[in-house]
């Protein structure tokens, strides 16, 4: 179900009513949230729910073993019932009347049986290993299962294709390989990372394992942030499921504002800019067009437009997620802090997709050694972290290149000792740093948006060779200006008032006009070509 869909605006009030009708009983509220979240996620494809149920059961049990060295009989039986019911509802019933579903049904049957046995015997199995501690075994189980699910559903075809291409390139042999048609479940990278961080946090002693399966299942599947984050940490988010929730003072107003502003960013800015971006990029997407674009200025404008499209799209989703969560009395972390005013790459990553960059820092960069092993190792760790960060976005060579590019500019800034460039500079210098950094980010967005390496080359060639002003460029500038002015004005207010929610400190009249402009824009200026959020694919 999309946030910008009619169904969602029926779904949300119904769930809110049911939820708040059980005001003091947070356990029952969690059940409502779990059911609502599964309904929300199953709206795309009900079969995806079996995957999330599997992740839930495995990590719930793994964390209990890590924390207590065992699971109780009741916890195991409940986990197995949860798994079996999920298997029946979401896997064994052939909802879509798929012809070849019988094979999948058999697979699910065998998998459910084996996993149920594993869950039941897990305390015994970890006891058999005398040399390795129980918590290490359980943590390994959690990480391996999460990475396996990601690997199978997101990267299998990519690795098989890459292996095949490499073999052809090096040895001139095309090996006989199997490529399965596997649908990419929406938001799989988000919830597997969230689930993995939970087990790791329990292992590190930063969080107590949840004894309640339903609390944990509701935490992992919480629909506002399920499909595109923020990737919440167990230590800050899970406790919110284990206590009575209240809406903070002004929370409803702020929640509704975040939803409205998120929608504005998505359907007014991102969707309208996408039309312009696609006119330049789409002809090159299938890799058949091999001529340099006529006008490099158009390419440049399209890259600028994409920079704001992806920002408005993704931060718009994050705003709606935060706003919706607030209406349920939950606090989600802030995922974007004005990323395009960053003055250097490190600053950018403290502002862009904060939940992912901090996840990569805490669970990848630091475990790899961080900056503790000397210059070379620091650079190596930075590069690897960003490379895997790129791969997290999808199984494509352009995402890998994008990750490598981000790693490289981080290293280069450190190499030249300017990793904090611009942060303490005078205003004029700071502006110059911001402009330079924005262009570095845009080069990254070219790599990110291009569907193949050839497009990157052709577009760069156009930018450095064919620049001229024509009517298309003037139209492009008008489109960009029209949609970006309101966003920039609001960001100036955010900077001026030093808060992401400037209306809080503004007088009633300007506040009213901001609301009016936002609502009218959503109604009158939204794109007719509504699309899914870009980050749903990751």
């Amino acid at each position: 179900m999309l946030f910008n869909s009619f169904e969602f605006f029926l779904f949300l009030p119904i769930v809110l009513m049911l939820y708040w009708s059980l005001k003091r009983d947070f356990k029952k509220q969690n059940i409502i949230l779990l059911a609502a979240s599964y309904f929300f996620y199953g709206w795309w494809d009900i079969r995806f729910l079996f995957l999330i149920a599997t992740t839930t059961v495995v990590d719930y049990n793994a964390a209990l073993i890590i924390q207590y060295g065992m699971t109780t009989f009741k916890q195991r039986v409940l986990s197995i019932i949860f798994l079996v019911v999920s298997a029946i509802l979401f896997g064994l019933i052939n909802w879509k009347n798929e012809v070849a579903w019988g094979i999948v049904q058999n697979g699910i049957l065998v998998f459910t049986f084996l996993l149920s046995v594993l869950i039941y015997l897990l305390p015994l199995i970890v006891d058999w290993f005398k040399v390795i501690s129980k918590d290490k075994i359980a943590l390994s189980l959690s990480i391996i299962s999460n990475l396996t699910i990601l690997g199978c559903f997101k990267y299998f075809n990519f690795f098989v294709d890459s292996f095949s291409n490499l073999s052809l390139l090096l040895f001139g042999i095309e090996p006989s390989v199997i490529t399965l048609t596997i649908i990419l479940p929406v938001g799989i990278s988000f919830y597997t990372f969230q689930s993995m961080s939970y087990s790791i946090d329990v292992y590190r002693g930063q969080l107590k394992a949840s004894k309640s399966l339903f609390d944990y299942a509701a935490y992992l599947s919480f629909f506002p942030q399920l499909v595109a984050g923020p990737i919440e940490r167990g230590k800050t988010f899970l406790p919110q499921f284990q206590r009575i929730r209240n809406i903070e003072n002004g929370g409803v107003k702020l929640g509704l504002w975040l939803i409205a502003f998120g929608l504005f960013k998505k359907i007014v800015i991102a969707d309208n800019l996408s039309i312009f971006v696609n006119t330049v990029f789409s002809p090159y997407d299938n890799g058949e067009l091999i001529t340099t674009p006529e006008n490099g200025l158009m390419v440049l404008l399209a890259i600028y437009a994409f920079a704001f499209q992806i920002y408005a799209d993704f931060s718009g989703y994050a705003d709606i997620a935060r706003g919706t969560a607030k209406l349920f009395g939950f606090q989600l972390m802030i995922n974007f802090r004005l990323p395009y005013i960053a003055t250097n790459p490190s600053d950018f990553w403290r502002r862009w997709h904060i939940s992912l960059s901090s996840w990569l820092r805490d669970y990848l960069y630091i475990p790899l050694g961080g900056s503790r092993g000397g210059t070379f190792k620091t650079y190596r760790n930075l590069f690897l972290t960003m490379l895997l960060g790129g791969l997290w976005h999808g199984a494509s060579i352009t995402f890998v290149l994008w990750g490598a590019y981000q790693g490289t500019i981080l290293i280069l800034y450190r190499l030249f000792g300017v990793e904090s460039a611009g942060e303490q500079s005078k205003p004029v210098m700071k502006v110059l740093h911001v402009i330079w950094m924005f262009h570095l980010v845009c080069l990254g967005w070219l790599i990110f948006r291009a569907q193949n390496v050839q497009t990157i080359y052709l577009f760069l060639e156009a930018i450095f060779t064919n620049l001229f002003i024509d009517q298309a460029v003037i139209d492009g500038v008008s489109i960009l200006t029209f949609y970006l002015i309101p966003l920039l004005v609001y960001q100036i207010l955010q900077i001026k008032y030093k808060t992401l929610y400037p209306q809080k400190v503004m007088a009633a009249i300007p506040n009213f006009h901001i609301w009016f402009f936002t609502i009218m824009s959503i109604l009158a200026l939204s794109s007719k070509l509504s699309s899914e959020f870009i980050y749903f694919a990751f």
Binding site: F516, F517, M520, S521, L523, A524, L525
Partner: protein
């Protein structure tokens, strides 16, 4: 009382602000639709209406005569000796939205043949009509004019309009009229237009025009969904259901049956039939036909202006920013081509 006054002032302020917003950031054409209920249960042009259409690209006057025909004079049903009468059926394109009366393709067509033939045109086009309503107009009004030629305009929106109106359906392979009346919001419109202030707002406010389009789009979409699901779908024959007919197939099938029925009725009165297939445009140089591609329609003479448009595509042929109807140049090309086709096919002999 003071609270009520404050609320009224607030609403008025919001309305003014919204009007300013729309005018500056999302200008919309002001195209008030003057339609009323006819005696035969569907919409017709409001008799003796005289109004303006204003957009950022053009401003035109529309005058409707006492019989609901876009014309600056009344036309008697009885045909004078030696007159070749062309009765036209269609939607806003046929009515001539976007063009002064002298610039419409019907006027252009008439001008091109007036030297050789005594032609009289009766334009029965009504904005919003689909093929289903056009069939009823032909039966109830068109035949009274004793036409020699019937010109029907086809537009891609007819597929959905035919379903939405719910006037006809296909049962066991035959076209059946299942409803006598289709008057969407006409009574409400007539009531509202009886207030001068409402008429003023409808003729001058862009906010009103925008809101009307917004609401009408929402209602249309919902109506089509509901109509298609609850009414139209079950009435398709069992055999069709077994053949997994999609909604698109059903729209297509209904359109074909309606066109064949119109052709049959025209043949029955001994008139000649021609269809103007109005192309959809996706850009200044890209046009596509939406006319049903079916062998059963092979006997119908259809004129599609895409080839002619491609010769003149350096010109602006449709009002691209406003409402997407033909510009005077677009009308001119269509009008002249229609005249040539009528001559070539000996429709005027």
């Amino acid at each position: 009382m003071i609270k009520l006054l404050k609320l009224t002032l607030l609403i008025a302020y919001i309305a003014v602000l919204a009007e300013v917003f729309i005018r500056f950031l999302n200008p919309v054409p002001i195209l008030p639709r003057y339609v009323s209920a006819t005696d035969y249960g569907i919409r017709g042009n409001t008799q003796n209406a005289d109004y303006q259409h204003v957009t950022e690209e053009y401003k035109i006057n529309v005058k409707i005569n006492s019989k609901g025909v876009r014309s600056d004079k009344d036309i008697r049903y009885e045909k004078s000796e030696g007159v070749i009468r062309v009765v036209t059926l269609g939607d806003s394109f046929m009515l001539g939205y976007g063009a002064q009366l002298s610039e419409t393709f019907l006027s252009q067509m008439s001008n091109s043949i007036v030297d050789k033939h005594n032609v009289e045109i009766v334009n029965l086009g009504v904005s919003g009509h689909g093929t289903a309503e056009e069939l009823i107009v032909l039966r109830e009004e068109g035949k009274k004019y004793d036409p020699d030629i019937v010109l029907l305009s086809w537009h891609g929106t007819d597929y959905a309009d035919n379903i939405r109106s719910g006037l006809f359906n296909i049962m066991n392979g035959s076209l059946i009229q299942v409803n006598d009346s289709y008057l969407p919001a006409v009574k409400l419109r007539e009531y509202l237009f009886s207030f001068k202030i409402y008429e003023f707002i409808a003729s001058n406010s862009q906010l009103y025009s925008w809101l009307r389009e917004l609401v009408s789009e929402m209602v249309k979409n919902s109506y089509e969904e509901i109509s298609s699901y609850f009414e139209f779908q079950p009435k398709i024959s069992e055999e069709d259901n077994r053949n997994n007919f999609s909604t698109e197939d059903k729209k297509n099938e209904l359109a074909i049956h309606l066109l064949l029925e119109i052709k049959k009725e025209v043949d029955d009165i001994g008139a000649k039939f021609i269809v103007l297939d109005i192309p959809r445009f996706s850009s200044k140089t890209h046009f596509r036909s939406t006319f049903p591609d079916d062998v059963r329609l092979v006997d119908i003479l259809v004129y599609n202006p895409i080839t002619d448009f491609n010769h003149y595509n350096e010109n602006i042929l449709y009002w691209e920013k406003s409402d997407g109807h033909f510009t005077p140049i677009g009308n001119q090309i269509v009008g002249k081509a229609l005249a040539d086709i009528l001559e070539k096919n000996k429709y005027l002999d």
